[in-house]
Point group: C2
Chain length 309, copies 2
């Protein structure tokens, strides 16, 4: 294996990906790091450790607004840079086992968050959501067959809502599919609103697909609760003022080119904590974003490198 | 002319039209009624009057949620059913002149409303709007060249926002074009929000393109004023609970057909008065929807038929 080629390809893939949620993206990174550790030609532990540390850090820096990428990778990096590791073979085993265990823990946290969220949805309730969240989809999977109904937005520009509607159709969850603009019409028909998150910032602000803030506003004005549901790995230490909202290519909107007209395609918006009824993670339903949860924070407290998230 | 054919064609056109705003739709109806009066073969005033009265009433009933259609047509009907009209030729002249005068008054009211609204927009201000309103477009025309900027939503499903962006480009108004879902991202960048209306209900509730309520919510949460701007002919006597929100064909969303998934395409939403900073019409800027304005109300007070709006 050529380490430079491997690194370049991995970072290029990570930079370009737009199909995976933040949690799955982080798990794929761990898979690549595990591969990298196994196949890296370094003969001594110090050179190998430094190569692993460098790739994990560069991956984390590539998707700064994806909290799980930050949290999982920095946690893994902590494992492979433990002082006193002299045997390259032992380091490889640590790297592979660490990636496997963190991946498993992350998957369990995601299902745990969905289970916690499912407990807030009464039988027969109508749930309105925005965009496609694997945690919210798992929630519907857990409650399908109990008369739970869904209201799903199309989620322009890439229409992730159609993928969610397709899955809900397979689960036989009765679903209403609407334009994003109709959220204000249909929020009053729902009993509650639930969304996933790409990150939850230090003050509880939710970073999620653009339109989430509008759903939260419509929910509050319609008198229904608005829940955010995600594994605690998505908790970041970032303040809202420091959040980077990734933009995607404007041509996804298919707007006609016009002089003096700038097309914007900001993918995420910020839903401030005053619009959130509860933060739901694998540890339960919380009236405030829990302070204790991000592994990055634990790392920092343990004397490891503070997270850059 | 065959009066039955004329009536049938006129009502079919009116029922199907989706391209015109409520005000323009009402003015086209007056044009048709004027034609109908001129070309109707009736030899006596009573038969002619009854034919005119009937077509105007049926037109008004065809678009119940369009306040100007109600208001202008019922006002015109009042003119052609004045008691004591014995001469069919004089009745024809009254019908034609009435249609012409009401059309002119309606156009003047629309420009007057845009002039009133323009007075609330400081030089250099950024204005966010939703969908396409001819009154809001006139406002931009009045203020183009004074550093006023626009933020325009695409307005799914039929993308009226692209027509507005095209006109703003011609006017050299610097414009940002966004998905409806990005309203929450960009409302904080604007100094004020302005929309037109299809109707304004008795309590001040705004009936306008779906998504308007979301813009009003985002405006309030972002601390910017939200103005509705339309001629007073759009004031209806309807209460919000009685409002009919027209739906259009679901296939406009281009969603894949899926078992158990219902596609909704409700065209209008209701923005309640607590989200409206001011109601702007040809008579000025009002902190509440004026009680005095709809010609229907005046008709009712004059002893004419009460409006069915």
């Amino acid at each position: 294996m050529n380490p430079e080629t491997f690194e370049r390809d991995a970072l290029a893939w990570l930079r370009a990906d737009r199909s995976l949620g933040a949690g799955e993206l982080a798990r794929r990174c761990l898979g690549l790091l595990s591969d990298f550790a196994l196949r890296h030609p370094a003969g001594d532990a110090e050179a190998l450790g430094s190569a692993l540390e460098s790739l994990a850090g560069r991956m984390a820096a590539t998707r700064p607004s994806m909290a799980p990428v930050q949290n999982l990778l920095l946690r893994w990096r902590r494992l492979v840079t433990e002082p006193g590791m002299r045997d390259p073979q032992r380091l490889r085993e640590t790297a592979v086992r660490g990636a496997r265990e963190l991946t498993r823990a992350s998957r369990e946290a995601t299902s745990g968050a969905a289970r916690s969220a499912a407990s807030t949805v009464p039988s027969g309730a109508t749930v309105i959501t925005h965009s496609l969240s694997s945690t919210v989809l798992t929630l519907f999977r857990l409650r399908a067959g109990e008369g739970v109904r869904a209201i799903v937005t199309e989620s322009r520009p890439l229409l992730e809502g159609t993928s969610l509607a397709r899955e809900l159709s397979k689960l036989h969850v009765p679903t209403r599919y609407i334009t994003d603009a109709q959220m204000g019409v249909f929020a009053p028909e729902a009993d509650l609103a639930v969304v996933g998150a790409d990150s939850v910032l230090a003050d509880g602000t939710v970073v999620n697909k653009a339109g989430t803030r509008l759903l939260a506003l419509a929910a509050r004005d319609s008198g229904i609760p608005f829940y955010v549901c995600c594994e605690s790995l998505k908790y970041a230490r970032t303040a809202p003022g420091e959040a980077v909202l990734e933009s995607m290519p404007p041509d996804e909107l298919d707007a006609p080119p016009l002089d003096g007209v700038v097309v914007s395609n900001v993918y995420f918006d910020l839903t401030p904590p005053h619009l959130v009824s509860a933060w739901i993670d694998e540890n339960g339903v919380h009236a405030q974003r829990p302070r204790e949860a991000g592994p990055t924070e634990r790392l920092a407290r343990d004397g490891g490198r503070p997270g850059t998230d």
